[in-house]
């Protein structure tokens, strides 16, 4: 008896695999999106601001100004272009987006510095992007401070507090460590929740769902069979993302891989449950897609903390972020993968995630019973 059930289940899962794997274009996207994301986040995108085009107008052309300019040129943050531009020309360059900043050394720079003990450098920043503007002026200031410190090297300052700074987990301050866990959450959400919702609504649209439900297989097994291919694809995708981060991005997995996969499976189940829930409420593929976009993709991108810092958000928005499963998953992946922590460090997040999953599954079972009744 038990054997028969397994056979039926096997046949069903096999059918689902045919559906999923025969639609080449969709399949391509399922794997294309994570690969493209990892590549883009790993190699193209960074929150770091570097190679910014600036123009340096040196009206002094003296020893001090040239020394400082040499230092600015040596920095990886700036892409320096030297020219003596008029005010109007500077404005035109900023307006056309050719430069991000103009640095102007006045004619008497060195003589002011040595005789008046004080000199000025004028900086005009394109602050339409406030982050870049602030960061660039900070970089510039620290280069100038550096110059001064060197100039004073002979006269050592008394009473110095020297901060010894150590960057934990990501000494080179790369963008990838922050993004990879986020991409994992996003991709799993996309495949499990959105694709499952769409696939089930498609069966509803075509009327084949009815046929499945009158089959001898128990209804909940039908649902399990429908979701298993997506679970496997998700795990496969996860493995692909991890392999890429290890071999392409040189991002080692510091913690236990088994723990990582176990936590991921928990998250995947919660995503699948969300997808099922959306499929209950949707009548067309289009509306399933839209609902997934609005209620899953957007919160995952906005409220997990991997794109935008949660602490900057208004209080009520932070509140909402506490019921977004990806938020917990993101924290867990960061802890296990990047910080190399064990289960003891993440049991709270795991518990909350498990709780959310349980609630979702219960709601699903309820709504499923109502649908059948």
């Amino acid at each position: 008896m038990k054997n028969a059930v397994w056979k039926q289940l096997y046949a069903f899962i096999q059918k689902e695999f045919y559906h999923v794997f025969r639609d080449r274009k969709t399949l391509l996207m399922l794997f294309g999106i994570p690969i493209a994301q990892v590549l883009l986040f790993g190699f193209v995108l960074s929150n770091e601001i570097k190679n910014s085009k600036i123009v340096v107008c040196d009206y002094a052309k003296d020893y001090a100004s040239q020394e400082i300019i040499r230092k600015i040129e040596a920095s990886k943050y700036f892409n320096v272009q030297k020219a003596t531009l008029t005010h109007d020309q500077i404005e035109a360059s900023l307006r056309s987006g050719d430069i991000k900043m103009a640095v102007i050394f006045p004619a008497d720079f060195y003589s002011d510095l040595s005789h008046l003990n004080k000199a000025q450098i004028q900086v005009i920043a394109d602050a339409s992007d406030p982050n870049t503007a602030t960061t660039l002026s900070n970089y510039l200031t620290s280069i100038i401070n550096d110059y001064q410190a060197e100039a004073l090297a002979q006269t050592k300052k008394p009473y110095s507090i020297i901060p010894q700074v150590k960057m934990l987990y990501n000494p080179e301050l790369l963008g990838a460590p922050n993004f990879v866990p986020g991409v994992m959450a996003l991709v799993l959400m996309l495949i499990c929740a959105m694709m499952t919702a769409v696939a089930i609504v498609k069966e509803k649209e075509m009327g084949t769902m009815e046929i499945l439900l009158v089959s001898p297989l128990k209804p909940y097994l039908v649902i399990i069979a429908k979701t298993i291919p997506y679970l496997l694809i998700s795990l496969l995708n996860l493995a692909a993302i991890l392999l890429m981060s290890v071999f392409l991005l040189n991002l080692a997995i510091k913690g236990s891989v088994i723990l990582l996969f176990a936590e991921s499976t928990l998250f995947i189940i919660s995503c699948l449950a969300l997808g099922l829930l959306i499929s209950v409420g949707s009548t067309s593929q289009m509306s399933a897609m839209m609902t997934s976009q609005m209620s899953l993709m957007l919160p995952t991108m906005m409220l997990t903390g991997f794109m935008f810092p949660i602490e900057n958000m208004p209080f009520w928005m932070q509140g909402i972020s506490y019921i977004v499963p990806s938020r917990y998953y993101y924290t867990i992946v960061k802890a296990v993968m990047l910080e190399g922590l064990g289960f003891t460090a993440i049991w709270r997040e795991t518990l909350v995630l498990a709780g959310i999953t349980l609630v979702l599954v219960v709601i699903n079972v309820r709504s499923f019973k109502i649908r059948l009744a």
Binding site: V44, A119, D126, T155, P163, M167, Y169, L341
Partner: protein, 372 residues
Amino acid sequence: MRTLRFLLQKEFRQILRSRSLLISIILGPVIQLTLLPLAANFEVKKIAVAVVDHDHSTYSNKLIAKIYASKYFSGGTYHSSYEAANKMIEQNKADIILEIPQGFERNLVREGHEEVYVAVNAINGTKAGVGSGYLGAIVADFNQDVRLQWNQPGHFSEAPTIDVVNANWYNPFMSYFLFMVPGLIVSLLTGIGAFSASLNIVKEKEIGTIEQINVTPIKKHHFILGKLIPYWVLSMFVFTIGMLVSRFAYGIVPVGNIGLLYGFLSAYLITLLGAGLLISTYSDTQQQAVSLAFFFVLVFNMISGVFTSIDSMPDWGKALSYLSPMSHFAAVMRMVVLKGSTFHDIQPHFIAIIILGIVFNTWAVLNYRKTT
């Protein structure tokens, strides 16, 4: 031309009758533009510090008080050991550890120098960099205070100082909304335009009416135009809603010529919708069209410069970004709205968008086959 008129009449009727489409087109931008800018704030502030003070001296207390008084740091916690503080980092409750060694005050006064230890959670590289920078600045400032207190005038000559005079143009109050909202309008418009255009032809394929169209003597370019124009008008409308929201909710008034903005938008939409129709001609089902559109919209968004800086990309990333129509519109939008850039300033983007538009639309017409 007459054929086109009837195609347009039909498309408009269908669009105006699809209530769910209209709702998502009108409400979507309003909701997203009120929520997203609240979330999309990259400013680094509220950095949590975990302090391990082994010295418990006047100076160490003063230093800690100075840090807490800064607007960048959101208070902090005291711990007896580095291990305890490290736990806070592991639990994401602290971003930075400041460890003040025993004998801090004594060594500073007697030996003339002393170290403090700073450990930063650097998984988020930006936050780590900026955060440790702020902390360093506060420590340096404190250091200056100490020196002033201990130095009698004339004890040692004052070092020459270089003042950096900063002028922040275009956004003197450094408002993040001013920067993000125009970018988000671009992102939103791109999503709506690409999805609706890519679903369009494929929907006729799925319900079978495309067969009927294919046996009529309709010219291919008429058919594509008939599909393109309604969504062009619709996207213009969405954009206008976006601009109104940004005007009344965020008080953003474009500095530049609004006519120029609409002029560029017209060209951008032809390019974007052409790309959407191209996706449609390649798909057999709505599911495929959505997956493809999702992929491209995602990539367009990521490399557009709306969320990260294009300057920081490697050369091939820059090339990719140049090929994506969204990057050009994002750049032009910010230039015209924030800096009042003129036609002359945005000319390179105009040329690029027109070339991309010709490529995508020609490709779409060629790939739409009436015959198999």
